[in-house]
């Protein structure tokens, strides 16, 4: 055990006597005049319910969280009165600009409102009534195997960080918990799709996994967030859109629609976080650029891994006949270019306008996609 409570309450006479006194009817009521703000929050729009935005008031609000949170290290809920000896939870992320995004409270509200259930919201039996040709089904199984790997990493990122982020960033931490469930649900739907189609799973991708681990293991939250929340989620968003457009079945189209809505939310946070970070810490721009220079090669590893590229060509073309493959490789080349273009647009929108010129990636991608 790394931590023991400061007292063994089973033998602490003072504590036991205090408890006994209360149970004899002698209430001390030390909490009764708590020095906290009195508010009665109400929904601003009853149709939308009571949102976190409605409670963004005074000392309870997220607007008033300072950039450097110095006086909260315990479990105390923001705005409560702190008394006595409170534990230090060892948070290592205590700067608002390291985690915050102006849209985070809204995104958290949205994620709850747009919940869906893979077990019942997908018309699974259609896969059996209208089976795909084997090569197309195998391509789907391979694609969904790849996507499961991406979702394991997407689930691990928020869970890896949430406990070390200061409790004062409640809305952001709640959002991270929602991200965990989103990733778990996407993993679930991809796995179910692959297995219910009958082809089983395909092959894991060493290329993709090496890159994903590099992103996941970033040693600072803002860096990892750029990689996982903006670059990976943005890439997946474009990928889901592409698969939806060429979906071989209604089931796949439906899955991709749900996946898009979740990935769009994650990307919105990733972009918002980077923007907030750069707005409040402009000197970080160099550090972020340096990090991107080092790590954005992973995007190449993901898009170019045969375990993704080849099934995408087959799915976009509709099969393995030459004409189908030609159609598929042209569509995939466009997709590759789109992934990188959208990535660069997002990075620019977040505040790194010159990055596309500095990065090696666009030129490489142009060369590859032009070869189609």
């Amino acid at each position: 055990m790394a931590f023991y409570a400061d007292k063994d309450y089973t033998i602490d006479e003072t504590v036991l006597q205090a408890a006994q006194k209360v149970m004899e009817g002698h209430l001390g009521l030390h909490w009764y005049e708590a020095k906290t703000e009195r508010i009665a929050g109400r929904p601003s729009d009853p149709k939308r319910g009571l949102t976190y935005q409605d409670l963004n008031i005074g000392s309870y609000g997220y607007t008033s969280i300072p950039e450097d949170v110095r006086t909260s290290q315990s479990m105390v809920s923001r705005g409560s009165e702190k008394v006595g000896k409170l534990p230090d939870m060892g948070y290592v992320v205590n700067r608002k600009s390291d985690v915050w995004s102006d849209n985070v409270a809204e995104l958290y509200e949205e994620v709850k409102a747009r919940r869906w259930v893979p077990a019942t919201d997908i018309p699974w039996t259609e896969l059996h009534t209208n089976p795909l040709p084997p090569e197309l089904e195998m391509a789907c199984a391979q694609l969904y195997t790849f996507l499961q790997e991406c979702q394991i990493v997407s689930m691990d990122f928020p869970s890896k960080w949430v406990a070390v982020i200061n409790q004062d960033f409640l809305e952001q931490k709640s959002w991270m918990c929602a991200q965990m469930l989103d990733a778990s649900r996407l993993f679930e739907v991809f796995r179910k799709r692959a297995l219910f189609g009958g082809a089983g799973l395909g092959r894991a991708s060493a290329t993709a996994e090496q890159g994903l681990k590099e992103w996941l293991w970033a040693d600072q939250f803002p860096l990892g967030s750029v990689s996982i929340n903006l670059t990976l989620a943005g890439f997946l968003l474009t990928l889901y859109r592409q698969v939806a457009a060429f979906a071989p079945t209604n089931v796949d189209r439906r899955i991709m629609r749900y996946a898009m809505q979740d990935a769009a939310r994650q990307t919105a946070y990733g972009l918002g976080q980077l923007r907030y970070h750069l707005q409040h810490r402009p000197l970080q721009a160099n550090a972020i650029e340096g990090y991107l220079d080092l790590t954005e090669h992973v995007l190449l590893g993901l898009i170019g891994s045969p375990e993704l590229l080849e099934p995408m060509i087959i799915i976009c073309g509709g099969g393995l006949e030459k004409a189908q493959v030609d159609k598929g490789r042209i569509a995939t080349a466009k997709f590759i270019r789109l992934v990188v273009r959208e990535y660069m647009e997002r990075i620019a929108a977040a505040g790194l306008a010159g990055h596309a010129k500095r990065s090696k990636i666009p030129a490489m991608i142009d060369r590859i996609s032009a070869s189609a």
Partner: protein
């Protein structure tokens, strides 16, 4: 950087050339089509329930066949996929099934996904318009909610921090933990929202409870964390929610407690099933878990000693601060405290640790408390 990929793909000429060639010619390697993986034909067992993880519990993809010690996957590969050379080590801490498994985990997860509720819209907040609680009740309710926001904070962080430490082969447990983290975030949200609608705002933190609860986060193993969190802490909280629903001053509060109870019961259910599983499949762990419970039960003592909570509870239970209110409040609070302990030991019995009663200081306290309550004429059931 804590990890660098073994390849810089922008510098890997072979990788880029192969990619270029594929796009230019359409010639593909297609070796993944020959993956040595199983072909299965799953069916929905019950179309109304849809396609569940249980329906996919087949062969190498299923959870039944996960070995006790997972030796062949430490990467991000999903269970049952072909794992090529060169995948990285995800560095999981927990690769032993009995350290985290629970009968029915997949159903707990499916239930969690299908019973997600929304603290923003599923609580009839508008019904609070015109509700003016007496000051004493309003403050007591706010104090209870303040305490619950602290509890839910640790209940969020603790399972979440274990998730990336679990071997990716334990898909269903990881999924359950992800759902639990979301449940707890929602609980923190609903209690905060309720406190901020009382007119009093949040009240005072509970140092004794916080100091005791920190113990949950720093367990040496997942099983120890689970017994402390899912069984002891959430078991206690489940009883607290049940009593709180009974004491709720408004229908809005009743609804809140009903919804959080359904989530909490699921967490306790997982905790019980896991505790049973670990005792049955990893018997050497029994003594370790006893030792951990010795410390975890300290949480229960701390809870009783945290007067800011006990007093608020007494006021809510008695309906005010007059002598007769306090007397009634103490009666109900005594019943609550004893019920909490009684249910704790009943759970341990059911999981296969009946000998806990002989060892536990908490049980001693329970017996003394029960005798005193009976002498005072307080009925316990």
């Amino acid at each position: 950087m804590a990890y660098l990929s073994t390849t810089d793909f922008a510098q890997d000429k072979d990788f880029i050339d192969k990619w270029l060639y594929t796009i230019r010619t359409g010639e593909m390697d297609l070796s993944w089509m020959k993956s040595a993986t199983e072909k299965i034909s799953p069916e929905e067992a019950n179309p109304r329930r849809g396609l569940t993880y249980r329906d996919l519990n087949l062969g190498t993809y299923g959870y039944t066949d996960i070995p006790e010690k997972v030796r062949n996957n430490r990467s991000y590969a999903p269970r049952g996929a072909e794992i090529p050379e060169g995948v990285p080590d995800a560095q999981p801490w927990v690769s032993r099934k009995s350290e985290l498994w629970a009968f029915n985990t997949e159903s707990y997860y499916e239930e969690a996904v299908s019973r997600q509720w929304n603290a923003t819209t599923d609580i009839p907040w508008d019904r609070l318009d015109g509700v003016e609680l007496p000051e004493v009740t309003g403050k007591a309710l706010s104090q209870l909610m303040t305490f619950l926001t602290e509890v839910e904070m640790i209940a969020t962080d603790t399972p979440a921090m274990w998730l990336p430490r679990l071997n990716p082969d334990f898909i269903e447990v990881r999924a359950f933990i992800a759902a639990q983290a979301m449940d707890e975030a929602r609980h923190a949200e609903v209690f905060r929202k309720r406190a901020l609608t009382t007119g009093w705002g949040l009240m005072q933190a509970s140092p004794i409870n916080e100091m005791a609860l920190k113990h949950l986060r720093d367990a040496d193993s997942f099983s120890e964390m689970s017994v402390a969190l899912h069984l002891v802490a959430e078991g206690n909280v489940l009883t607290l929610f049940r009593f709180s629903e009974y004491l709720s001053p408004t229908d809005v509060d009743k609804k809140i407690f009903r919804l959080v109870m359904q989530d909490e019961a699921r967490h306790v259910g997982y905790g019980m099933q896991h505790f049973k599983y670990v005792l049955e499949h990893f018997p050497e762990k029994r003594e370790v878990l006893h030792a951990h419970l010795d410390e975890a039960e300290n949480i229960s003592f701390a809870g009783a000693a945290a007067t800011e909570l006990t007093e608020a509870f007494i006021i809510l239970a008695g309906g005010g601060l007059k002598k007769e209110n306090i007397e009634q409040g103490i009666k109900v609070t005594t019943q609550f405290n004893l019920k909490q302990m009684q249910e704790h030991f009943e759970r341990l019995d059911k999981c296969g640790m009946p000998e806990r009663r002989q060892r536990s200081k908490l049980y001693l306290m329970y017996e003394m408390g029960r005798a005193a309550a009976e002498n005072a004429g307080i009925k316990l059931n």
